[in-house]
């Protein structure tokens, strides 16, 4: 008896996920994108020298460095990735 119930539950979860994908996924993605872009912009302003942007790293950049370290790899990759207008369609 437990198995059909669980299948039904799975089905309902699936329908819920599909509806979320249609209705809200884009909104959630946009919110994440906005936050991510702001963070990446902040890192660029404070740690731009890591990418060769000619800024003199101020004292506060060094204070912030430990917090930025986990994001450096993905940030560098995103900043340096080649882009065109088709990226804006995503």
């Amino acid at each position: 008896m437990a198995e059909p119930k669980s299948k039904w539950r799975n089905f309902l979860d699936g329908v819920k996920s599909v509806l979320y994908g249609m209705a809200g996924h884009d909104m959630a993605r946009f919110a994440l994108k906005t936050r991510g872009s702001m963070e990446h912009l902040f890192i660029l302003v404070t740690m731009g020298d890591l990418l060769g942007v000619p800024i003199l790293p101020p004292y506060y950049s060094l204070r912030l460095l430990p917090y930025v370290v986990p994001q450096i790899a993905t940030w560098k990759r995103r900043m340096l990735r080649e882009r065109d207008l088709t990226d804006a369609l995503a």
């Binding site: 994908g21 249609m22 209705a23 919110a31 080649e82 065109d84 207008l85 804006a88 995503a90």
Partner: protein, 581 residues
């Protein structure tokens, strides 16, 4: 033939297409590996690359590819008879549609999430990327024209529609306020705003409201039909007000923050559309109408042109659409958690869209019927045909009896209007960004948000007021199908570069390319040598010269592209032969 038989044929097409053909390609040629790290997992940055559940992605993919295309295209194509339209929808999706969508995702996943712009640069030639961007721009412009005419001149001119659209928009703004400013629960927000929107659509059908808009439009009954006075060119007062409302909506969508306007309105609109589709399908199953005397085949040369090639660009989405390849490669491929999800997400969403197109097809054939389709010249007003067909389906379970005569048609019209507008405001947004990126260095004023938007809207209003609907729909379809050709060419080249079987993408590419170039050449010929000499007014001449020139530009771009593509095919074949030696 009964509508349920058509649904059964579509279900068989989906069952065999997805369950047999697609699965065999997936298993034997692509061989996805669930343990392989996808770009979403490998490059997860919380911005562009984020893994998502396969069901969520399925919904996202479907919502991104389904707009007015799969609804209006099949209805316009009924001018050749229902059989050619039905066959192309089912066979197009079976042999070409899912192939493109699914393999676009796979190429994106296997090539580290690169977009088609970057891939065409690498696999074909540097100029191929610029050609792709030109296709996209023309395609978007044609969307604005075709959807703008449909909304401004056809849907908004029904006095029961404008207030409903305005109130759905306001419900969307309320959703944005409740979500982002008042931090309300999403379920509460959804219930409140969707109820407000539904009540708004109903209020729009009340007599005082209709009388107000009838007076505003200056509608007078001539030979039993409401007619609005002509203001200038072919534009009536109702059409002028309708097109201005479209411009205002798109302007606000393009310049306001996306969370304030575009997103919440799209969110509320989604529920209106979902209820309409579910209600329509339910009515269809209850009523089980027949196609009646709708002719299976009417004529080879219809008002939109000869069956080949014009049918194949008239029905784009629903059978095959280049737009899907862009969504698949730029959006979905970067969110795919496992390679094995690609078929479910890409192929599954495409087959569901095919089903969506079949519902629109049935709304016209089994719902409205041939007599009304012929009387209204349904190929010129497909939105009216769909809203009337949907209303008939909704009435099978008594919607009009419950909410008043005419509610079903108004609901169908608002459904289509918001579906079009929610695409159009995002298109204007994209066009603004595109013009700023492409010409911003030379003309810095284009970087100004308002200037870029106004220029995009000036192009739009030109098309709405001047261009004939059928011709603009033909060029819109052709630009879309040329993008599909480019996508299939890219996929073929990618398969060749990986020494995989490429016949299943090459022949669809060849068919789509020859057909689309044929369609464009026919449209250019018809515009310059048939329609233009027959024009007596300057606006008609301007319209057909513009359409002819646009068709020729697309032909030239397509030929350049295929020359580069064929060169690349020979290059890869030579490399393959060398590797085998």
């Amino acid at each position: 033939m009964n509508a349920l038989v058509v649904l059964l044929l579509a279900a068989i097409g989906i069952g065999v297409g997805y369950g047999v053909y697609a699965r065999s390609i997936d298993r034997k040629i692509i061989q996805p590996d669930p343990s392989k790290a996808t770009p979403a997992r490998m490059y997860m940055d919380g911005v562009d690359f984020i893994p998502a559940n396969r069901n969520v992605l399925f919904g996202y993919q479907f919502k991104s590819i389904a707009a007015l295309g799969p609804i209006l295209g099949p209805i316009i194509a009924l001018q050749w008879g229902w059989l050619p339209a039905l066959l192309w929808i089912i066979l197009g999706a079976f042999f070409i549609g899912w192939v493109q969508d699914y393999s676009s995702i796979i190429v994106g996943v296997r090539e580290e999430g690169q977009t088609f712009g970057a891939l065409s640069y690498r696999l074909i030639s540097p100029r191929a990327r610029n050609i792709l961007l030109a296709f996209i721009y023309v395609y978007l412009l044609m969307i604005m024209g075709a959807f703008g005419i449909t909304v401004g001149f056809t849907l908004m001119t029904n006095p029961a529609v404008p207030l409903g659209v305005i109130l759905v928009t306001l419900a969307g703004l309320l959703a944005g306020q409740m979500t982002y400013k008042w931090k309300q629960d999403i379920i509460l927000t959804t219930v409140v705003t969707v109820v407000v929107a539904l009540v708004g659509i109903w209020v729009g059908t009340l007599k005082p409201v209709k009388d107000f808009f009838s007076a505003l439009y200056g509608l007078q009954v001539v030979e039993g039909k409401p007619v609005s006075p002509n203001l200038f060119l072919q534009v009536t007062r109702a059409g002028f007000i309708g097109s201005l409302l479209v411009l205002v909506f798109c302007y606000l969508g393009a310049v306001l923050p996306i969370w304030r306007w575009a997103q919440p309105i799209n969110y509320v609109s989604f529920w209106i559309v979902l209820f309409g589709v579910l209600g329509g399908v339910l009515g269809l199953l209850i009523g089980r109408p027949s196609l009646g005397d709708f002719p299976a085949f009417q004529q080879f040369t219809a008002p939109a042109g000869p069956l080949w090639p014009m049918l194949f660009v008239t029905i784009a989405c629903g059978a095959i659409s280049g737009w899907h390849s862009l969504v698949s490669s730029s959006g979905t491929a970067r969110q795919l958690e496992k390679e094995t999800d690609a078929l479910y997400v890409g192929g599954g969403a495409m087959f569901l869209e095919m089903f969506f197109a079949i519902i629109a097809f049935l709304a016209a054939t089994a719902g409205v019927g041939f007599a009304k389709y012929a009387e209204l010249k349904g190929w010129t007003v497909p939105a009216v045909i769909f809203s009337q067909g949907l209303a008939i389906f909704l009435n099978y379970w008594g919607l009009d009896a419950a909410l008043g005569q005419g509610f079903g048609v108004a609901y169908g019209s608002v459904f289509l209007t918001i579906m079009a507008l929610t695409i159009m405001h995002l298109v204007v947004r994209f066009m603004r960004v595109a013009s700023a990126e492409a010409l911003g260095d030379r003309f810095p004023i284009l970087r100004n948000v308002h200037v870029g938007t106004i220029i995009a809207l000036l192009f739009t209003i030109f098309l709405i007021w001047f261009a004939p609907f059928l011709r603009i729909w033909g060029i819109f379809g052709a630009a879309n199908q040329l993008m599909a050709s480019l996508a299939l060419l890219l996929i073929t080249l990618w398969l060749m570069s990986k020494a995989k079987n490429y016949q299943w993408t090459f022949w669809p590419f060849a068919f789509m390319f020859v057909t689309t170039v044929g369609a464009l050449l026919w449209q250019a010929y018809d515009s310059f040598f048939v329609k233009l000499p027959a024009q007596k007014t300057w606006d008609g001449m301007v319209a057909f010269i513009t359409m002819g020139v646009l068709a020729l530009i697309l032909v030239v771009l397509a030929v350049i592209l295929v020359v580069d593509g064929v060169r690349s095919i020979f290059r890869y074949r030579a490399e393959l032969a060398k590797a085998r030696r």
